[in-house]
Subunit: 263 residues, 2 copies
């Protein structure tokens, strides 16, 4: 049995709480948040608190609060030599106050409080400073059905960067698609099946192999026609830059496809 204290009550903390509650080998000792109101509705199912001095002993303390506050918050914890991790993709592990044993438990997924997520599908990136703590984080991930990946700080920050490309930037391309449809009174949801298929395709082939379209084909006529159709300069800049990027990936002197175990 792993005993855990959750610190914070945002998107990640709430998803962790739900996943831990359903796991057989995890006991949620306490749930802390600086404002009690955010967790008061859970008071019947878990011990809640808004006072750091009331925190009880547990195997693990998970800080799931805003990135910028993690360092200071960790220094305010009224105990030492216990095991404290944060859940951030970008904050350094060493930002956690060294009076405790430190680590990272980064769930690589985009959480919103209201969107249900199959937590067992979430990859957990873990890092520890004291080697003997590694197994505990692995066990915790396993107890909620997740795959754990031991990575370095540099790898985690690189993954977080890659996540910005495939999540935030991709979502902005969806937004631009939405804007383009809007100008001609087209329902954006006609594009939903295509968007799902685009994401699905690369689950079994590399993005290199999955590429199609005018830029990949070096189809100048279509590219020119589409550029004429674009009404917003900012959309045109993105069209040009990503077309150039695809051309360079798939050009005559293009880089080889990256080999992965799945290709």
């Amino acid at each position: 049995m792993i005993s855990v204290v959750i610190l914070g009550a945002g998107n990640v903390a709430t998803h962790l709480y739900k996943a831990f509650r359903n796991a057989e080998n995890i006991e949620i000792t306490q749930w802390y948040n600086r404002s009690r109101s955010a967790i008061s509705s859970y008071a019947n199912t878990v011990e809640i608190t808004d006072k750091l001095e009331d925190l009880k002993e547990a195997n693990l303390y998970i800080i799931a609060i805003s990135d910028d506050c993690i360092a200071e918050f960790s220094s305010e914890l009224p105990f030492k030599d216990r095991f404290v991790v944060h859940t951030s993709g970008s904050v350094a592990m060493h930002d956690i106050d060294k009076k405790n044993q430190i680590g990272v438990f980064y769930p690589l997924q985009s959480f919103s409080k209201n969107a249900e997520i199959d937590f067992s599908e979430v990859p957990i990136c873990i890092e520890v400073y004291e080697k003997e703590n590694l197994q505990l984080l692995k066990d915790l991930a396993q107890a909620v059905g997740c795959k754990a990946h031991k990575i370095t700080t540099e790898q985690r920050q690189t993954l977080h960067l890659a996540a910005v490309f495939v999540n935030n930037f991709t979502n902005q391309l969806y937004r631009i698609g939405h804007e383009i449809c809007e100008t001609k009174n087209i329902e954006f949801n006609i594009l939903h099946p295509l968007i799902e298929e685009t994401a699905k395709k690369i689950q079994h082939m590399s993005p290199f192999m999955a590429q199609t379209g005018p830029a990949k084909r070096h189809d100048k006529k279509t590219i020119k026609r589409q550029l004429k159709l674009i009404e917003k300069d900012s959309h045109a800049s993105i069209y040009k830059l990503l077309t150039a990027s695809i051309k360079s990936t798939h050009g005559f002197n293009s880089p080889k496809p990256i080999k992965t175990t799945k290709d």
Copy 2:
């Protein structure tokens, strides 16, 4: 019963053939391709031909060949006053030779021969020149379980443009994510669940509402740190441009979210 002749044997033609074969109210009169070898393995289940002069009478002829060849190919058809459509997102309907009745049957999806697709989920964009032909295309779409959308040429070309953003450009962002992971020996497939979730999220909320991350939060510290981490200039340019795009969408004087029926 709708009788159909399929012309061409590429990705789209092959998916149409499979969908039509399974539909109760569709009869595939013939399948034509200029090179017989591409369709010869189907000779037991459908009448195949590589000679235009052998084409039989049918309610509808579907030209599913490369965009650039549609106009010339349609002029070579050895009959007139029959109903001929193409399946392209970008070619004008009027590129089809006017000796026949003309139209468009554009399936808005990305097809590869080997990837299975639930065809009933594919939106079909239809266009006709002779109004009395509209019902036939609607019936055809319905017979394979698809939603049909009557649109104009301009709307179809706009949709095709939007599709380039949400499909080809998105896939290139996946490719960049792959390259970034590769530089630090990280398996790209750790990002698969995030990619799927990003696509799923906008099936029930607008991309505007779904946006998260450093650019949306105007989080200068993280943006600066990530730019330092990027090793390729071309990646940095895309990072900067899409960050600016998100900032402008979600800035203080940002455009309002687009209202759709689903929001």
